[in-house]
C-alpha cells in the first residue's frame, strides 16, 4: 500500500545547526503516527517543512506516491495536509462557522453565505462526533472544544493528513481523553494523523507507531505495542533516564518555614485560602497536590510575598515574617513560579541579564549604582556551565531558548546561592524528560544539603516521587496532610476530588 505521506532523506541546515538530517518518515492512511523528541530535536522543523513554511535543503516528499514541492501552508492544504498549531489560530470574537469560512471562497462570492457553511460544519461535526455548535462564539468554548474547531477547519478544507503539534500541552486530563477519542475516530475514517508530543504516556496510549527524533536525526520508528516507556525515553535522550526520582531517607531537621491558620480573602469576601497550617523542616520536601485552580497559585503568591495574607502567621527560622514583601522573601528563599514567562524571566532580555535579575544591584556586580559587566559575565559563565544551560552565547534573548533551557535559567538564578527554602510551583510544566530529570536532580540535591522545599504540582507522579509529606489542597483548604508512603496515586486522586475518607495525619 502506498503511504499517505512519505518523506525520504529530508535534511535542513540552518546557520550553525543541522535541524533535520536525512529524516525518513511515513504515515499511512488510518494511522496515528507519534512524533517524539526533546525540545529542539527537530520535530517542529520537520513539520514546518511538511507544511510549506520551511524549504528543505535535500530530500523528497511524496503524497499518495506523487512527489510534492510544498510551497506554502495554503498549498499544503490543497494537497490534503493540515496542521493544528499549538497556539490556536482562531478569532475569539467570531463564531465557529465564521472561523471555518475565513479565507475560503464561498459558493456564491462575494457573499460569505455563513448559513451554508454552518450547515456543513454541523454535518462534519456529527460525522466525527465532535459535538460542535457552528453558531457558538469561540470565546465561549473551552480549550478542548477550540481545538476541535481547529480540526474541523481542516476537515472542512478536505485535509486527509492532520498534524497535531503538541496538542495536549493545554488540555485537562478529561479533555485529553476526548481528544484521544477524536483522534481514533478520525483514524477509523481513514485520515492519517501525526501526533507530536514529548509525553511518553500519551504516545504509548494513542499512537500506532512512534518515530523518535534526536538532534535532528531519526533514532528509530517503532510500533508502540512493542516498546515501553523506558525504551522510548532512552531513544529520545540517548542514555538511561531516571524517570522516578530516587530519594534517600533522611531525618528532618529544625523547621524552616512554619505557617499557622493562613487565610486569604478577596475584598468582596470570597475565600481563596483558609486555615492552612503546616511546617517544612530542613531536608524535607512537602508536596502540595490538587487540581489546578484550588488555591495553589494563591498559596505560592502569599508565601513569596506577592500578595499579603488576610489572616494567619508565617514564620521563617522562628521569626515572624507575615506580610513580607517579595523583595524580602528573596532574601530568605528561592522561588520557581508556575508561569515562568510572566513571573520568572523576561523573554526579551538576554541570558546574562536574566541570570543577573536578582543580583545586579549588589557588589561585586555593581558599584555606586553603576553595573560592572565583566564581573557579571564571569559569574554568568559559571552558572551556564554549572547548570548546563544550552545557549549559543550569553547575549541571546531568552525567547530563542527552548522551554527546558529557559527553566534552567530560572533554576540557576534561584538555586546557586543554596537557599534554605525553595518554593517550586509546577517546576516541570512543559519540559521534556531530559530537562525534567535535571530539575528533579537539583531539587533532591537541595534536599540533601538540608534545604526545605514546598513543591506545588498537579502531576501526581512528581508529587509522589519527590515529597516526604503530601498535602492535598481542595478549595483553598488542606483536606489531608499525609506521609508519602501511606498513599498511592488513586487515593491521592480521590482526595483531590474532595473525598476526605483519609483523615489528616
Amino acid at each position: 500500500m502506498t503511504p499517505l505521506l512519505q518523506m525520504t532523506g529530508v535534511t535542513k541546515r540552518f546557520p550553525g545547526v543541522m535541524a533535520n538530517r536525512d529524516v525518513t518518515f511515513s504515515v499511512d492512511a488510518g494511522e496515528i503516527h507519534g512524533l517524539l523528541g526533546e525540545n529542539g530535536a527537530g520535530k517542529s522543523t520537520l513539520m514546518k517543512i511538511l507544511y510549506g513554511l520551511v524549504e528543505p535543503n535535500e530530500g523528497r516528499i511524496e503524497i499518495d506516491g506523487n512527489e510534492a514541492r510544498i510551497r506554502s501552508p495554503r498549498h499544503a492544504l490543497e494537497l490534503g495536509v493540515g496542521m493544528v498549531h499549538q497556539h490556536f489560530m482562531l478569532v475569539p470574537t467570531m463564531t465557529v462557522a465564521e472561523n471555518v469560512a475565513l479565507g475560503l471562497r464561498s459558493d456564491r462570492p462575494p457573499l460569505s453565505r455563513l448559513r451554508v457553511v454552518a450547515r456543513r460544519v454541523a454535518d462534519l461535526s456529527e460525522r466525527y462526533g465532535l459535538h460542535i455548535d457552528p453558531d457558538q462564539r469561540i470565546a465561549d468554548l473551552s480549550v478542548g472544544l477550540q481545538q476541535r474547531v481547529e480540526i474541523l477547519k481542516l476537515l472542512y478544507r478536505g485535509a486527509r493528513l492532520l498534524v497535531l503539534d503538541e496538542p495536549t500541552a493545554v488540555l485537562t486530563p478529561q479533555e485529553w481523553h476526548e481528544l484521544e477519542q477524536t483522534m481514533r475516530s478520525l483514524a477509523e475514517a481513514g485520515k492519517g494523523i501525526v501526533f507530536i508530543s514529548h509525553k511518553l504516556d500519551e504516545q504509548l496510549a494513542v499512537a500506532d507507531r512512534c518515530t523518535v527524533l534526536r538532534d535532528g536525526a531519526v533514532m528509530g520508528s517503532v510500533a508502540t505495542a512493542d516498546v515501553d516507556k523506558a525504551t522510548l525515553a532512552r531513544m529520545m535522550v540517548g542514555r538511561e533516564v531516571v524517570l522516578r526520582a530516587v530519594r534517600l531517607p533522611r531525618p528532618a531537621g529544625r523547621p524552616v518555614l512554619e505557617v499557622a491558620d493562613l487565610g486569604l480573602e478577596t475584598p468582596d469576601g470570597r475565600r481563596l485560602l483558609a486555615d492552612l497550617t503546616f511546617s517544612i523542616a530542613q531536608g524535607e520536601i512537602v508536596g502540595v497536590a490538587g487540581v489546578d485552580g484550588n488555591g495553589q497559585r494563591e498559596l505560592v503568591e502569599v508565601l513569596t510575598g506577592v500578595r499579603p495574607a488576610t489572616s494567619g502567621t508565617i514564620r521563617h527560622d522562628g521569626e515572624v515574617v507575615t506580610g513580607l514583601t517579595a523583595r524580602r522573601y528573596h532574601r530568605i528563599g528561592a522561588v520557581i513560579p508556575e508561569d515562568r514567562h510572566r513571573m520568572a524571566i523576561a523573554l526579551g532580555l538576554t541570558v546574562s541579564e536574566n541570570l543577573m535579575l536578582k543580583e545586579f544591584g549588589k557588589a561585586p556586580f555593581s558599584r555606586r549604582g553603576v553595573t560592572r559587566p565583566r564581573a557579571s559575565r564571569d559569574f554568568c559563565r559559571t552558572l551556564v556551565d554549572e547548570f548546563d544551560i544550552r545557549t549559543p552565547s550569553l547575549d541571546v534573548t531568552l525567547r530563542q531558548l527552548s522551554g527546558g533551557n529557559q527553566q534552567k535559567v530560572v533554576v540557576a538564578r534561584e538555586m546557586y546561592r543554596s537557599p534554605d527554602l525553595l518554593i517550586a510551583a509546577q517546576p516541570t510544566r512543559g519540559l521534556d524528560v531530559g530537562a525534567m530529570e535535571f530539575v528533579y536532580r537539583r531539587m533532591l540535591e537541595h534536599r540533601e544539603r538540608g534545604g526545605a522545599t514546598l513543591l506545588v504540582s498537579t502531576e501526581l507522579d512528581e508529587i509522589l516521587s519527590l515529597s516526604d509529606r503530601i498535602a492535598v489542597l481542595v478549595d483553598g483548604r488542606f483536606v489531608a496532610l499525609i506521609d508519602d508512603h501511606a498513599v498511592d496515586v488513586e487515593e491521592l486522586g480521590l482526595l483531590m476530588g474532595g473525598s476526605t475518607d483519609k483523615g489528616a495525619g
Binding site: 501552508p73 498549531h85 478569532v91 467570531m94 469560512a101 475565513l102 479565507g103 462570492p109 457573499l111
Partner: protein, 320 residues
C-alpha cells in the same frame, strides 16, 4: 483626512464647477493621505499614534498652505451648495418629517453608506476576512489571507470615506473652506466609533447623539438666556442615569454615586422651576458636543469590543 477632503472637495468644485466632481476630488484627497498612512503604518509598521498625529499636523499645514497659494488673493469665494431634496410624502410627516426627509442628497447617501458598511462587514467573505485581520491576524494569515493587502484596502476605503465627509462639510454644507475647518471632528468620529461599540449601526446611533449635541449647541448659542427646558433635560438625564445604575447593581450600588445623581436631578428640576435668567458665554455651548463625548465615553468605555489587534503592526515571525 477630513480636512484634506474638505479642501480637495472645495478645490475640485471650484476647478470643475461641479459639486459631484468636487466630492470625488475630496474623496481622492482623503484617499491619498490614507495611502501615506497605510505605507507608514502597514508596510513600514510604524507606531500608529505617532503616524496619526504627524499626518494630522501635516494635513493642517498642507491644506492651509495650498489654500493660500490657490485662493490667497481671491478673497472668500462662496460656492454653490447642494440643494435640499424633499422626499414627497415622508417629508410632510408631522414633527420628524422636515428633519429627516428634507435633506441634501449627501445626507441620504450617508444612510446608504451605513447600510452598505454593515452588509460588507457581516455578509461578505471580504468583510469576514477584514474583521479577522483586525482581531487575530495570525489566524487570517494561516487561512491564506494577505494581512498587508487587507489592511491597505481598509485604510484606503476609510480615507475615501473621510475625504467624502470633509467635502460634505466644505461644499455641501457651507460652500467655503476655512483653515483647519474640520476642527477636531475626526476625533469626535473616533469617539463615536468607540461609543457605538465598533459596530456600524451602533456608530450611526452614536453619531446621532453627537450630532444632536452639536445642533443643540448651535441653537443654544443663539438664545439670550438659558431656556428652562435645558434644566429639565439635565435633571431627566441625571434621573435616568440613577435609575440605570440602580437597575444594574441593585442594592450593591455605591450610595455616593446614587446620591450624587439624585442631587444633580434635584438641582436640575429646581432650576427648571425657578427658571433663572442666566446666560452663559457662547464658548461654553461650543464645548457641549465635547462634554457629551467625554461623558458618553467615560460611561460606556470598558464595555468595548475593539478589534484586538487594533494599531498593532503584524509580523509573521513574531505572531505565528
Amino acid at each position: 483626512m477630513i480636512l484634506m477632503g474638505a479642501f480637495g472637495g472645495y478645490w475640485g468644485q471650484w476647478w470643475t464647477g461641479d459639486i459631484l466632481l468636487g466630492m470625488v476630488a475630496g474623496a481622492a484627497a482623503g484617499t491619498s493621505l490614507a495611502a501615506l498612512m497605510a505605507l507608514l503604518s502597514v508596510t513600514a509598521r510604524s507606531d500608529q499614534i505617532v503616524v496619526g498625529v504627524g499626518l494630522n499636523l501635516f494635513a493642517i499645514g498642507l491644506t492651509t498652505f495650498s489654500f493660500r497659494e490657490v485662493f490667497g488673493d481671491r478673497g472668500e469665494i462662496v460656492l454653490d451648495r447642494m440643494g435640499t431634496m424633499s422626499i414627497p410624502v415622508l417629508s410632510a410627516l408631522p414633527a420628524i418629517g422636515d428633519a429627516l426627509f428634507s435633506q441634501t442628497a449627501a445626507t441620504y447617501a450617508t444612510w446608504l453608506i451605513v447600510a452598505l458598511t454593515w452588509f460588507v462587514l457581516y455578509r461578505t467573505s471580504w468583510g469576514l476576512a477584514l474583521r479577522a485581520v483586525g482581531e487575530v491576524p495570525a489566524a487570517a494569515d494561516t487561512a491564506g489571507i494577505s494581512i498587508a493587502v487587507r489592511r491597505w484596502q481598509a485604510v484606503l476605503v476609510t480615507g475615501a470615506l473621510a475625504g467624502l465627509a470633509g467635502s460634505i462639510l466644505s461644499i455641501v454644507q457651507l460652500g467655503l473652506f476655512q483653515e483647519n475647518m474640520s476642527a477636531g471632528r475626526g476625533f469626535l468620529a473616533l469617539a463615536a466609533v468607540i461609543f457605538g461599540r465598533w459596530r456600524p449601526l451602533g456608530v450611526a446611533g452614536a453619531c446621532f447623539v453627537f450630532g444632536g449635541a452639536d445642533a443643540l449647541q448651535l441653537r443654544l448659542q443663539a438664545e439670550e438666556h438659558v431656556p428652562p427646558e435645558v434644566w429639565l433635560f439635565f435633571g431627566m438625564v441625571a434621573l435616568v442615569a440613577a435609575a440605570w445604575l440602580f437597575a444594574r447593581s441593585g442594592r450593591r450600588a455605591s450610595p455616593r454615586a446614587l446620591g450624587t445623581l439624585v442631587a444633580l436631578a434635584t438641582i436640575g428640576f429646581a432650576l427648571r422651576a425657578a427658571a433663572p435668567e442666566w446666560s452663559f458665554p457662547a464658548q461654553l455651548w461650543l464645548a457641549l458636543p465635547f462634554v457629551v463625548t467625554l461623558a458618553a465615553l467615560s460611561g460606556i468605555a470598558g464595555a468595548g469590543a475593539a478589534p484586538a489587534a487594533i494599531a498593532i503592526p503584524y509580523r509573521r515571525d513574531r505572531d505565528v
